[in-house]
Amino acid sequence: MTMKKWLAAAAFSAAMTGAAYAQQTIKIGVSGPYTGGSASMGVSMRDGVKLATQEINKAGGVLGKQIQLIERDDEAKNELGVQIAQELINKEQVVATVGFINTGVSLASQRFYQEAEIPVMNNVATGTLVTQQFKAPENKSNYVFRNAANDTIQSSMIAEAVKKNGYTKVAIIADSTNYGQLGRADLEKALAERGLKPVAIEKFNIGDTDMTAQALRAKDAGADVVLTYAIGPELAQTVNAVVKLGWKVPVMGSWTLSMASFIDAAGANGEGVMMPQTFIQLPSTPKRKSFIDAYQAAYKVDRIPSPVSAAQGYDSMYLLAAAINQAKSTDGRKVREALENLTTKVEGVVTTYDKPFSATDHEAITANIPVLGIVKGGRVVPANPADLEGAGALRVKPKS
């Protein structure tokens, strides 16, 4: 054979194996921050997704093929998330993507999935706008789904707890990101519905190390409860400032108060802080027990860095796999339709998903599912133990 023929043969066989390989796997993107201040959520989410994928693959995969995860670190940066979305869609040609921890990254990146008609499953980002960005009737169909408790649900839970405990003077301390400010707006709305108007609304930037001014303003305004909307490291600085002022005030806030970076950094100052949780690391159902055991064995940890992210990440993969199986295709449009009309019950860690989505409702988690958690002894436990016992342990989305 001449050189030319050799080369042609080599190229042909390479192309063949490439094509064969592509047919054997189903590529799914996993996008989240594995570095930086949101890393504990991103890494836990990814590990939950990986755990579910291994189980699904071991059981034969979907449509007779193995799932191949394409992981990308968006560093919680909007611009990087946008790049990754385009890379996953155009270069990797993923069937779907799960992930997004940060609301800002999600809002910036998911429009590419929408345009490419590829479903995206938000498993952590909680901004209320996330599933509303491409809602009908402005858009023919919406490719954005979510299995996390959105900010509307969380803020009304927080506001309800405020009211139930008889607090009347509320201070809100939130960070200046999309997450903090959208959440702050939701919180104000939820408080207004209950006839409460915050006496102080304060702000700080990511990376700030001293929140004395914010805490002091809240204290000066006579607040009897502090509500937060931010992430781990800055939340720790906030409670540290509150304690430094010698100010005895209850602190409540969004689910991020369960992040390891908050609990570890705040130490004793973080004890007693309350937040909504879709999942608490307790073996309250057999499914939860096997998930926790598997996670601990696979990643050699006792405490999951962010249990909520891990559980929702795990569930997101099962929901997606069920939809692909039902669609009998990896075509984005068919997978979306299958998600909107899921006929099989999916037993997840957070809840059992029975028709979790419809054409107009892309939220799998409803207001009745999350429970209030409280930091005790460096771990999140249920604020009301009855929430995770007996028949109350599994809360499911009500039939519409």
């Binding site: 700080f204 930037n205 990376g207 002091l216 430094k244 002022l245 970076s261 950094a265 860095p305």
Partner: protein, 299 residues
Amino acid sequence: MQNFFQILVSGISVGMIYGVIAFGYQLTFATSKTLNFGQGEALTLGALVGLTCVNFLIGLHLGTLAAYLIALPFVFAFGLAQGAVVERLGVRQAMKTKSEAGWIMATIALGIIFKNMAENIWGKDPLKFPSPLSENPLTIAGVNIRPMEIAIVLGALAMMLAVEAFNRRSIYGKAVVATSNDRDAAGLMGINTPLVITFSYALSSLAAALAGVLIAPITLTGANMGAALGLKAFAVAIIGGLSSGLGVVVGGLILGITESMTGFYFDTGYKDVPGLILLLLVLSLKPAGLFGKTAIKKV
């Protein structure tokens, strides 16, 4: 009034951190007219090395305070070595080529390399630094202060006074001062100016490493901790004036106090604005900085 002092105290402790990092910028600028744009990363590395040492010593059943004090010399030694590496690997090579901006890219590049190294060695999550002093606040005249905040101010002052004393009293310090005043003349007088410059880089990283271990117990320790602080300190160095050691300390205090005061008396959302306006004003009205000497450059 009590609130005013409470805010003042927190402004001073934040400002002192800015000041001590900016002091590092000033040290190298004085001798070589170059800066280490990886100061923030030098701080990060100092804090992380400190964390490893402290945890190791606590593992040997030492008290946290004893562990902290024993770890300090190791952190200083590491800071010195790290600064010398930056100068030898980055700045000196770039200066040889007579490029105006090469050293800028070289120090930024080394900073990124150090940050990535830190991410790989210590992980990407923020870590808790065991506090050597009690975390319970002290109440002095109605103002609550965490003991570590006092330690920051005292530690930073002690370091800067030590450097000043070294420069004034010792023969080696005089070589540094001579190099700062006129590098060529100092070289002609037999001073090994390249060595002096390496030394000033080493000292500047030491200052950053000290700042790192001072603030680590009250902030979190992690690969990203230095980025924002390094940038703020750079603004401080411009405000105070890069040619004056005292100037950068005062600049740091000005920025720290303005930030806290604006946050409290105006709006916490606009906390960073006055500092930056001040920076722009200084640049347009007194480019050498508030305490800087105007240099005459003959062309």
